[in-house]
Amino acid sequence: MEHVAALPAQAHVGETSTGLNSRKVLMWAFLGSDCMLFGSLIGTYLVYRGNYPSGPKPSDVFDIPYTSVSAFALLMSSLAMVLALAAIQRGDIRRLKIWLLCVAGLGLVFIGGQVYEFTTFGSEGLNLTTATFGSSFFTLTGFHGTHVTFGIVWLLMLWMLAARGQMTQARSLDVEIAGLYWHFVDIVWIIIFTVVYLIPAI
């Protein structure tokens, strides 16, 4: 819900005690909080990742090349996010719209990949109820996917505002804050991808 308040223009315009914009500080605080959220999820996964008495084991289901491609798409979206911010800071609304769509599109590629992965795993016999490996895997990656989905909706809302001509250079902060969120979610995926997929495969 915290993002909710991050959307409208700032209530207290102008000077703050630190000189930092309040909505930006809010986003940083939220990200700190979110670290604890993912920390707990990853901790749970680490406790349970070796427990698959009857169900498929990680190495049976994980397709690292496939997941690498979707991870790459998400990584590239961060690049597009940087370009979107640079565009609005220059006042280039046309490019802002392009890059925002790009970010959202790459995010959708990632989510599509996850949906496909989840269904494949399901058909191979791994789901939320298969031992604790299944429970913790789907909860962890599902939470991340929900974060990405939320980010996509947010970016599309910004794009809509831009399309209606309401995004100007003066509102670059709106894009910057969405960008902070997006980069964070991206970094979290790098950690999850490493911990869940890569390290066990070594």
Binding site: M1, V4, A11, S22, A29, L37, Y48, G134
Partner: protein, 622 residues
């Protein structure tokens, strides 16, 4: 009220309500002062509910083999009592003061995100309601306030647990939203000159508490989500048949749970640190050490969680580490106690009701802290765990600590909030009845615990010899109940005909006393400039602090500007809004859906979505 200098283009989904009256004013308010009153009133109602549950338990335990309530009901009573007191009484009562007092202490007109603030309150209320919906179908949570796995799995429990899981998640959302808000408010809305090391101690403890909320609540959220997935979708997090590990629940719960106890006590310590200097007419002794102590307590609170788990068999190394880190917390805590005592020492002490409560806090909290250090030692804790000794310990810190301080805070700030004093005679009666009743109730529990009486039992045989102290304890509990009635009488009397209090009835030290009682809607007509610690005291008595006497001019300016502000109404305060309560209502509906009828879940989420969109499209002013 809220007036706008230039016309603002309104193109939200709904126009912002303009100067609503009566109930609508409360429903749509985004004014931190009104939200503070809402928090306080709601928390007090929950206090009466939780207190009634306590009295029922004490009635049942008064004599051996009593038959007032059965074992099942008793389980429900202690679960709801503990959960209510922690999440629906002490936390929101603290939040009431965050809301009312912190903006005044830092010289701000409101919090950083006024609508998010209203949202926090309505979500808190929704969570409290969801938690209590179990009473409607007689499926009340009955697995204890820390709901240990795997008792909470479907196989071993009934539907009551669902209400606990959903209610607590929603309460968590409200707490998080408030935590973020006060964190940003204190970072960013301080008046010019109000550097960190000049902030009043209550603002400091609010700040640190917000950090704890922001970092601790995500952990319980995940634990609750995992439990909910187990119960609703057949996941296996805590299902031992499929490899689930109940100890994981304990780790997650206490990684949250120990910081949580500091979330409960730090605001109380802040209140005491405000009251003691004012009624001793001395600056707080060792201010920087107080600040460092609060900060280090907060840091250490994340390193001690497994002291709740010594009996699970942590192994000698882990047990030693957690024992040592726990004992370490006694150091900053001791510093605070000595600083309060040193503040009183040599002061011109006035024993008005707020000060009595604050001094009572210091004494009772010290007792609770000492028994706490006792069970920091694993072998000792192994003896004490799950006995009445622990019940005695945590009531000395939670009631003797938090609740006494919060009552002190009410007596202290009531004149600011209402413009009237609470009665001093009834106040003294309130204090002494509560203090004596409290010690009668919980003192004997130390003996009972050492004598082996387990906690969470609904009755005991006469041969155990526990009858006498249990009877004393129950008598004490009724004395506490009486003291609460005295308090209610005092408040209702004062609201109608209390003695008028001026803007600065106690000769206060901090900025909230520099404006009228009750404060105007916009708090400060001109934002004050702070020249040192105890900003208002400095302004009143520059000669005492060896400062140049420039301040009085500034004061005159401020009063003049007050009138101007009133007359021209040029001060920007945020308009009320429908969206916070609408969005929170969506959460309530969604939660109800999970509990009673799944089809309501998407409906609720849709309302949340509409709420969020409407909220973000709403024109913002001021």
């Amino acid at each position: 009220m809220a007036t706008i200098a230039a016309p603002v283009e309104r193109r939200g989904l709904l126009a912002r309500p303009v100067a609503p009256r009566g109930i609508w004013a409360w429903v749509t308010t985004v004014d931190a002062k009104q939200i503070g009153i809402l928090y306080g009133a709601t928390a007090f109602i929950f206090f009466l509910i939780g207190g009634t549950e306590a009295l029922l338990m004490r009635t049942q335990l008064a004599v051996p083999n009593a038959n007032v309530v059965g074992p099942g009901t008793f389980n429900a009573l202690f679960t709801m009592h503990g959960t209510t007191m922690i999440f629906m009484v002490v936390m929101p009562l603290s939040a009431a003061f965050f809301n009312y007092i912190v903006p005044l202490q830092i010289g701000a007109r409101d919090v950083a995100f006024p609508r998010l603030n209203a949202f926090s309150y309505w979500v808190f209320l929704s969570g409290g309601l969801l938690m209590h919906f179990g009473f409607l179908i007689q499926q009340v949570p009955d697995v204890g306030w820390f709901a240990y796995a795997n008792l909470t799995e479907n196989a071993f429990s009934q539907r009551g647990v669902d209400f606990w899981v959903v209610g607590l998640q929603v309460l968590g959302v409200g707490s998080l939203a408030a935590g973020f808000n006060f964190l940003v408010t204190i970072i960013n809305l301080r008046a010019p000159g109000l550097t960190l090391m000049r902030m009043p101690l209550f603002t400091w403890t609010t700040f640190i508490t917000s950090i704890l909320i922001v970092l601790a609540f995500p952990v319980i959220t995940i634990a609750l989500v995992e439990l909910m997935f187990d119960r609703l979708f057949g996941a296996n997090f805590f299902n031992t048949a499929n490899g689930g590990d109940p100890i994981l629940w304990q780790h997650l719960f206490w990684v949250f749970g120990h910081p949580e106890v500091y979330i409960l006590i730090l605001p109380a310590m802040g209140i005491v640190s405000e009251i003691v200097p004012v009624f001793s007419r001395k600056p707080l002794f060792g201010y920087p050490f107080m600040v460092y102590a609060v900060a280090s307590i907060a840091f250490l609170s994340f390193t001690v969680w497994a002291h709740h788990m010594f009996t699970t068999g942590l192994g000698p190394i882990a047990a030693s580490f957690f024992a040592a880190s726990t004992m370490l917390i006694a150091v900053p805590t001791g510093i605070k106690i000595f600083n309060w005592i040193s503040t009183v020492y040599g002061g011109s002490v006035r024993l008005n009701t707020p000060h009595l409560f604050a001094l009572g806090f210091i004494a009772m909290f010290t007792i609770g802290g000492l028994s706490g250090v006792m069970h920091a030692s694993p072998p000792v804790d192994t003896q004490q765990q799950d006995t009445y000794f622990v019940v005695a310990h945590f009531h000395y810190v939670l009631f003797g600590g938090s609740v006494l301080a919060l009552f002190g805070g009410i007596y202290y700030w009531f004149p600011k909030i209402t413009g009237r004093f609470l009665g001093e005679g009834l106040g003294q009666l309130n204090f002494w009845l509560m203090m004596i009743g409290f010690n009668l109730t919980f003192g004997p529990m130390h003996f009972l615990g050492v004598d082996g009486m387990p906690r969470r039992i609904f009755t005991y045989p006469a041969e155990m010899g526990w009858g006498l102290w249990n009877l004393v304890s129950t008598i004490g509990a009724y004395a506490i109940g009486l003291s609460v009635l005295v308090f209610i009488a005092n408040v209702s009397k004062s609201l109608r005909a209390g003695e008028r209090a001026g803007s600065d009835p106690w000769d206060g030290r901090t900025l909230e006393w520099s404006i009228s009682s009750p404060p105007p809607h916009y708090n400060f007509a001109t934002i004050p400039v702070v020249h040192g610690r105890d900003a208002f005291w400095l302004e009143k008595y520059p000669e005492l602090e060896g400062h140049a006497a420039a301040a009085p001019d500034e004061r005159r300016d401020r009063t003049a500007a007050h009138d101007a502000g009133e007359a021209h109404g040029h001060i920007h305060v945020p308009d009320p809004s429908y969206w916070p309560i609408a969005t929170a209502a969506g959460i309530l509906v969604a939660g109800t859906g999970v509990l009673f009828a799944m089809p309501l879940l998407p409906v609720g989420l849709f309302v949340v979505l509409v709420g969020v969109v409407g909220w973000s499209m709403e024109p913002v002013n001021g």
